[in-house]
Amino acid sequence: MLKFGYLAMLTFTVVGSFWLELVLKIKVLKRIKRALMSIIPVAIPFLIWDAYAVANGHWKFDPDQILGIYGPFSIPLEEYLFFLIVPMAAIMTIEGVRSVKKHWPVGDEKR
């Protein structure tokens, strides 16, 4: 079970945010193209930072608490998923707030 340590955190984040899709009908997953166009360009510099930090020992991941699957630059799979799931949760959060506070401007309303 130990190796699911990091994955548990990611699961928690998915569970904690994706329910908004069902309950508040925010339709973020239905707009997956826009979501990925927002997530990936931001994730790339953060992953470069991650690779640099790992290579230089600024931080490290416990090999016993991750699945042991590594992507490019010796970054664990969980870390790649982090930069997809956490930003997705952020988008769902702002859309969730918007759906509750309909009068609050966001900046992408039709004019």
Binding site: R34, M37, F61, P87, I94
Partner: protein, 102 residues
């Protein structure tokens, strides 16, 4: 302190991106700060999980050493930059007509 330095640069970049890059000005909007206020407690919980169990460990040389809920304070800067940049880009694409809600 290198994590601190990069994290501060990340925040500065995210702020400029929002205000002057894509000009979404989320920093001036209630919808952003309310969303961020919701996100921070969850970040503290997940950070605590990752750091208290030693899933992620930080070199003492890379951080200033101030910790919140077990995690380096730099993580809050990192999270802020990540969340603000992504939301700004999301709003930017919406403004450009990419998959608006209806």
């Amino acid at each position: 302190m290198i994590y601190s330095d990069i994290a501060i640069v990340g925040v500065i970049f995210a702020v400029f991106f929002d205000l002057y890059g894509v000009k979404t000005a989320l920093l001036s909007k209630s919808v952003f700060w309310t969303s961020y206020a919701i996100i921070v407690p969850f970040q503290l919980i997940t950070n605590w999980w990752l750091t208290s169990r030693g899933i992620v460990t930080y070199s003492p040389d890379a951080i200033i050493g101030t910790r919140i809920a077990g995690a380096p304070i730099e993580d809050l800067l990192f999270g802020f930059a990540l969340v603000l940049s992504t939301m700004s880009l999301w709003v930017y694409w919406g403004r450009k007509g990419i998959q608006p809600k209806n």
